[in-house]
């Protein structure tokens, strides 16, 4: 079936450094999402993105976070600077529209030390 690819699968980074998480969404999908899952806890919405713009973001989407998808390439989540509490698994997802199936990647496990 359709796949969302996330690169890398694991990332360890020093607190205060910048990190970019990459996502290759399902081709021809138009809506893109980032979710955050802390180990053993629920999946929490961070942001959704459509037509080059952020549509909605949650209170977890701090000022240090940004997203973009330049020219149909990777959909990225950048955190600058990182903080210890940013350690989590970040899932990228995409869909063809609202109320349609949302496909998730396998996640990037981010560890901030």
């Amino acid at each position: 079936g359709p796949k969302v690819l996330q690169i890398p699968s694991h990332q360890i980074i020093d607190m205060g450094q910048m990190v970019t998480l990459n996502c290759d969404p399902v081709s021809n999908h138009l809506y893109f999402y980032w979710y955050k899952q802390i180990l053993g806890q629920q999946m929490e919405f961070l942001v959704n993105f459509y037509n080059g713009k952020v549509m909605e973001k949650s209170k977890l989407f701090k000022d240090q976070f940004s997203v973009e998808r330049p020219d149909g390439s990777y959909f990225t989540l950048k955190i600058q600077p990182t903080a210890l509490e940013d350690s989590a698994v970040y899932f990228c997802a995409s869909s063809s529209g609202g109320g349609t199936e949302v496909f998730f990647g396998k996640g990037t496990r981010l560890t901030v030390v």
């Binding site: 629920q42 919405f45 997802a93 609202g98 109320g99 199936e101 949302v102 996640g107």
Partner: protein
């Protein structure tokens, strides 16, 4: 206040039994309710979904029962198999946004 709640953190059933996972929600405007299955180290995968205009959706061994008035729904897994052991997330969204609000998940264990 948590918008989507799953009543059990964990559930254990024997192989062949029906597993019932319960979910409730707060926002009466939610109109799309998918259930996701997640295995360790994997992303969530859509199992089955229902829209608020329906009260039942069946797909093979999986059935969603939906009660709009009570704002709750349940996932029934018939003839449970050990391979069904996973975490199941109830989610809800508004069709026009696509943003999913997840419950905390129920860890299902099916014993052979």
């Amino acid at each position: 206040q948590q918008q989507v709640r799953q009543s059990s953190q964990s559930l254990t059933v024997w192989e062949g039994e029906t597993a019932i996972l319960n979910c409730s929600y707060e926002n009466s405007a939610f109109d799309y309710f998918p259930w996701y299955q997640q295995f360790p180290g994997e992303g969530p995968a859509l199992l089955i979904a229902i829209r608020s205009v329906s009260d039942k959706k069946e797909d093979g061994r999986f059935t969603i029962f939906f009660n709009k008035r009570e704002k709750n729904l349940s996932l029934h897994i018939k003839d449970s198999q050990p391979g069904d052991s996973a975490t199941y997330f109830c989610a809800a969204s508004l069709t026009n946004t696509g943003k999913l609000t997840f419950g905390d998940g129920t860890v299902l264990t099916v014993k052979p």
